[in-house]
Amino acid sequence: MARIRYRDFDWTLLGFVLTLSLISVLEIRSATAMTKFHGFHTKQILFLLVGIALMFVASMVDYHRLLDIAYIAYGVSIVSLVAVLIPHIGQKVLGARRWINFGGGVHFQPSEWVKLVLIIAMARFLWGRAGEGKELSWKDVGKACALVLVPMALVLKQPDLGTGLTYFPVLVVGMFLGGMRARQAGIILLGLLVLGGIGFAAGKRLKPYQQKRIDAFINPDSDPKGSGYQIKQSLIAVGSGGVWGKGANQGSQTQGDFLPIPYTDFIFAAFCEEHGFVGATLVLVLYFLILVRLIQNAQTASDPPGTLLIMGLVGIMLFQIGINIGMCIGLMPVTGIPLPLMSYGGSSIIFTFLALGIVMNVRMRRFVN
């Protein structure tokens, strides 16, 4: 039936992705060279190999099968997010319950895979509702909001602001492409502004450390040892890198243990310090090529759900890139969001490559039907 050929696999996209992954491995190696995390780059390579394998697996299963089971997977996600909040099931680490421990060193963070499930569930939900000239009813908008906001609330409860926020672009992209009317968007935005205003006035909704982060963002000198310290050290790292950077393994901020977590959330700052404005711009160009390539694939998809699947990933990736790099260069407050394809970490890599697998899947079936 299906004419699936690996000639149709997007090798160009894979090339961009692997180039970025290689840069990531080299920077993790450099940033951890002098720390107790030395050797994390080899682990990162392992994660990448697993991710690539999973990408090929994901590219083989017809994405329509994924759409079929979307709601079941969504149900399981909600159950696991609730389970993680229950003491004895969810494991509390540093004050947040984010993991389910299966024993034997196997941990599972449901909030990560929920990203993928949400992309699929949103595509499934808009199935038939979306298409050229179609418009969403208020009821549809409400349902879509619930679809995203319920898991988001559960993740915020852990609390994990960073991961919770990454669900939001799925809703934005879905509504935008699904055919939300401008009036609806306007009313919702207004509502959000009012709600946000009330929340901000109450002030109590934020945890003290979150409040601190926002204060530190507005004025980095207000908390020179806490969040402000992180921002300041990051700004110094990026700024002192200059145009050409200090050279690989030469970043004094990174190597001297001044820049916090230079292999995960602040890896971009570490990279800027060592490779300067030129190196960092090259990385952004790579991101641009990857995202544009993804959008092109979305355009050629054989049906709207295929397009929505790819655009969901684009939304999440662009959101994470904007927030993470924005944080490193002082445009955004400190939020624990990893930089896709750059930050160290297994769950982030596996999510990205699984999603890329689905993209390939959609691409290879663009002539099918």
């Binding site: 298409g131 700024g239 952004l284």
Partner: protein
Amino acid sequence: MELENFRREEKLPPQKLAIAQYVVAAVLLALVAGMWRLSVLGADSYRVLAEQNRVRKVPVLAPRGKIFDREGRIIVDNYPSVSCYLLREQTKNLDADMPRIAEGLHMTVDQIQAILKRYAYAPKYQPLPLKQDITPDEQAFIEAHRTELPELQTLDEQRRLYPRDGFMAHVIGYVGEVSENDLKQTRYAFYSPGDVVGKSGIEESYDEELRGQDGSRDVIVNSHGKEVGLMGQELAKPGRDLYLTIDLDLQKAAERALEGKTGAIVAMDPHTGEILAMASRPTFDPNQFAVRLSKAYWQSILDNPDHPLLNKAIQAQVAPGSTFKVIMTMAGLQENVAQNLTVSCNGGATFYGHFFGCDRHHGFVDIHNALPYSCDTYYYTLANRLGIDTMARYANSVGVGVKTGVDLPEEAAGTMPSEQWKMKVMHDKWYAGETISVGIGQGAIQATPLQMARALSGIASGGVLRRPHLVMDKELSADELSAVKQTFPGSGEKTIPLTPENWQIITDDMAGVTGPIGTAAEAHLEGVDFVGKTGTADVVSGRKKGDHNRNTIPNAWFVGMTPRRNPDIVVAVLWEHGYWGNNSAKLAAQVITAFVNKQREKAGNLVKVAAVKPQVGLGDAAPAADANSATTTPADPDAAHSPAKKDNE
């Protein structure tokens, strides 16, 4: 699958996807602009900041709390010391610097290499201890070469100073670097590699109180590693001082009495459970552990067959021998069996077809002379009447076979056999014949010296069993106290079934033991109401004739107290392979002498107790045991279990 809702040619609005591309471009351009602002426009000023504004955290170590005796005399002190640490991340070429470092610190390159190898697993940012207790000379060298050798760093520390010659070593314990295994335990969750923690004794059980909280100084350093300012600091919170229940005068007497022997002495206040003295031999030098432990010293400890690291007061589990008869007497009286029991002792008796020997023909023995004579025949009969489970009930009620809950780590529980115990441990039923030997403190029964001291304290104080402890309760806050009590099992007070009449009989009977014809007559103290019970416990049952290996010589026990009624102090002595109970009684007498003399001095009474002839070693003990016991020395019933006589059985 059929997609009935979508036709092949149906698409999402293409112009929206084009908008998405512009959004992507806009976001990324904004980021590039942000970077331009920092890396191009701000590069110079940020470069200056990077050069200057670097903060390093230098730890400020909290001094450990000191340890005092009950009268405020210092036992464990600290002394200030400077150590040199190696910051591996501060060096460009360590190999090239090494000869200079070695010379300046009076070390060899090999020694430095060995330290690097030893800590090869440690993360690179962690400073490595290069040399402890460095001299002012070496300190000056480090200061003078700050620029060329930025990898050297000095750190002020407070080091532990323990009493010399292993005095009280088992009670105090020692400190050492927290091990990788320790770090995996929950109680050490907040410790980091390189931290110094209590490894045994009081140092371990009160580690949390003693350790305090380390502080730190945030020092601003320039790119050469030179300090240019202080950004902030967190002062160290010193550890808390502890006052022990130990009385140094009694402790000294106990330590002196055990000199050259193996065994343990425990003295405690039966009314409070406060341990007044606790000594164990052989001992070790905790100072050797506080600085780097030498291989030779560690090997010498491992090679010693008497296990110097073992606190025999709480960890030696041996048969209590005839000292157990005190508990048997209590059980017999409380069960109303002993009052009416008169036994005719003809040098032993037959139970269940097996002959159990007694050392002498005691003739008619009743409850009033059974304990002073230590007549085995009487206690065999009593045991046979009571049965093992009743005996176990009473023994357990005074803490035999149960942890005392003393505030020291790794206390041994001992064993009190019972029908249930045997079924559980040996999967076999109890035979009535086994009860007979348990009646004289032999067989499967095992107790620690502290258990025996506590058991006697419980009986002697009129029936209240208390938790023995080493840290003064009043020095701890209520929270700390309850935390300690939770940590150690068997806490709290227990009441023993003991009527005042029976209590009087037992304590009176014990007076006979130290009386002129008692088994501990040699330990008699003129003018002191010192009473007790001897015990001579076989260590090997299948001994061969003429075997005079030291390890087959019986253990000598003694438990005693003064005065007879409502005693102020109870002493338990275990002299391993000390031959017979009388020898241990003389050691106990030395502690009692120190105690009584101190009491009298305080009361203004200048009459001192005449000291008992010190017992130096087995050379002295052996002739006494060999002498004709019937005429020159009081009969030692326990000698029945001495090697020579046992051969006849």
